[in-house]
């Protein structure tokens, strides 16, 4: 079996909508188009039933009850609502938030805004694998802390955070705990009760559902979490998020959640095997290639690898039949390499050389083998073209050279 071109291997960015999800959604665009807030006719009742069914499916996936699920436009909005909503609601109690350096921008920039509005934010540093410890969180919590926000897994390097230990600590300290769980929901088991999570952000398009829909889990008891809404209007979603519910998208997220719940155990094993096949083939063939992130505590489908002496965007051009991402500055408008890799202490030169492979539900073994062979060939070709590789081969210490920084 051969791989069909181009190969999509960027499943940490987004996933293909599962055809079964699309099939479930279609009737809600066509004959079942009602507004779920219409209480006076069957169109509305039908839509409301579909929404509540979706809510149940999401809740079942994360060990919550349906009433604790608030629909949003996606995880960016969920993160904004959780952090700003808690900060505003508990202002009298305190003005301090704890987070960490490798969070998604939807968390970091939200925290930056809070700082401009007079709040204090602690950004915990991570270790060489991108992890924080519950102990670090414990030390950062003060009597002014109202919220701890730590992601469940990082989107670039796939590192899993010790969520359960942090959740339990937050319970012990009486501080609310939010986790951006977009990368783990549907791939790694999540249980909000067992893990002591009070608020959890998730997004449909990272788990084979449609774009434009996400959810925020908001704990309803022990403790009951309250949020200052960020969008005012008709008082939908227990007043926390106004706006007519996008019924077809909710049906899609519900179906995607159901499929993940039923298939996660088997699927995660499969994506893990494929990732290890890819990683070991590539790293076995290419000396001086380095895995970024934690070797074991990581998302099953994620491999982030730096190839010394080869620039990431240059490499992506060589493997143009494969859709991946790079931490290279050249792929961003800022010309700065990945802040996540920097936070791990990966040198800028290796950050520029990194490629993120994200294996998902629809990848095949033939694709993995094709990608591994292509990467090995192109890295070797580009190394032959790299002055740094030649110098390193000659035994020159690249760190001792006075480079002209530009």
């Amino acid at each position: 079996m051969t791989a069909k071109m181009p190969v999509y291997m960027d499943n940490n960015a987004t996933t293909r909508t599962d055809p079964r999800v699309v099939d479930a959604m279609l009737p809600y665009f066509l004959e079942k188009f009602g507004n779920s807030a219409s209480r006076n006719h069957p169109f509305g009742w039908e839509a409301e039933a579909a929404v509540e069914d979706g809510r149940e499916q999401i809740a079942a996936l994360i060990g919550a009850s349906a009433k604790e699920v608030i629909f949003t436009s996606g995880a960016t909005e969920s993160n904004n609502l959780a952090i700003k909503g808690v900060a505003a609601m508990y202002k009298k109690k305190g003005n301090h938030v704890v987070t960490q350096a490798t969070e998604h921008k939807a968390v970091l920039d939200t925290c930056k805004r809070l700082e401009r509005d007079g709040y204090q934010v602690t950004y915990l540093p991570v270790d060489q694998y991108g992890r924080v410890s519950a102990e670090q969180v414990r030390e950062a919590i003060t009597d002014k802390t109202v919220l701890v926000s730590i992601m469940a897994a990082n989107n670039e390097i796939g590192t899993l955070q010790p969520i359960k230990a942090i959740g339990r600590l937050c319970k012990e300290k009486g501080v609310l705990f939010h986790t951006d769980a977009v990368q783990v929901v549907g791939k790694v088991p999540v249980d909000v009760e067992d893990m002591g999570i009070d608020l959890l952000s998730l997004s449909a398009h990272k788990m084979y559902g449609p774009k434009g829909i996400g959810a925020l889990y908001v704990r309803k008891k022990d403790p009951r979490v309250r949020l200052e809404p960020q969008i005012d209007g008709g008082g939908h979603e227990r007043g926390m998020r106004s706006g007519t519910l996008p019924v077809p998208l909710i049906v899609g997220l519900g179906k995607a959640s159901e499929l993940c719940r039923l298939e996660m155990a088997e699927e995660s094993q499969r994506t893990f095997r494929l990732r290890e096949r890819l990683r070991s083939k590539i790293m076995g063939e290419l000396p001086e290639s380095y895995l970024n992130g934690h070797p074991e505590e990581r998302l099953p489908g994620n491999a982030n690898i730096s190839f010394a002496y080869v620039e990431g965007e240059g490499l992506m051009m060589g493997i143009k039949d494969v859709a991946v991402s790079s931490g290279s500055a050249c792929t961003s408008a800022s010309l700065e390499p990945s802040y996540v890799l920097r936070a791990l202490g990966v040198g800028d030169e290796l950050a520029h050389s990194s490629i993120r492979f994200g294996i998902g539900r629809f990848n095949t073994e033939a694709e993995v083998d094709f990608v591994a062979d292509l990467v090995v060939r192109e890295v070797s070709r580009l190394r032959e073209m790299s002055p740094l590789y030649e110098m390193a081969q000659q035994g020159i210490d690249l760190k001792k050279i006075e480079w002209a920084h530009h």
Partner: protein, 141 residues
């Protein structure tokens, strides 16, 4: 980011990849950029001391496709030019030839810097006369 056909052509079939002996008095070497910035170019020229004509040029580049294409193009343009003519190559000409987008203009600037550094290195060697290998070499090349 979409690449122009010319960038792709140079990237897939780079011209004049390789190295000359940096100790050779007729060779000028320019090494510019920095690994932490994501691009390093090494451009070398081989000059006929009698005529001042650049008879051959080679490059090696660590960088994105546009950086590789800019240096590949530079070696093509250098060959057959006198040293003085080569000093006239402007980064804007590279931008135009390769249709580089604004975010990639720095690749062309780096290529122009590499040309100037290679020529400066060659001229230093000429001025230093003997012993040629004692002339100021860029470290590590």
């Amino acid at each position: 980011m979409p690449y122009s056909d010319k960038v792709l052509e140079h990237y897939n079939n780079p011209r004049n990849v390789g190295s000359f002996d940096a100790q050779d008095p007729s060779v000028g070497t320019g090494l510019v950029g920095a690994p932490e910035c994501g691009d390093v170019m090494r451009l070398q020229i081989k000059v006929n001391p009698g005529t001042g004509v650049i008879e051959d040029a080679k490059f090696k580049t660590f960088g994105c496709g546009s950086a590789i294409a800019s240096s590949s193009l530079a070696t093509e343009w250098l060959k057959g030019k006198t040293v003085d003519e080569a000093l006239g190559i402007k980064n804007t000409e590279i931008v135009e030839e390769l249709a580089l987008p604004p975010v990639k203009v720095h690749c062309s600037v780096l290529a122009e810097d590499a040309i100037k550094a290679a020529i400066a290195n060659y001229q230093q060697k000429q001025d230093a006369e003997v012993p040629a290998d004692a002339a100021a070499e860029p470290v590590g090349v």
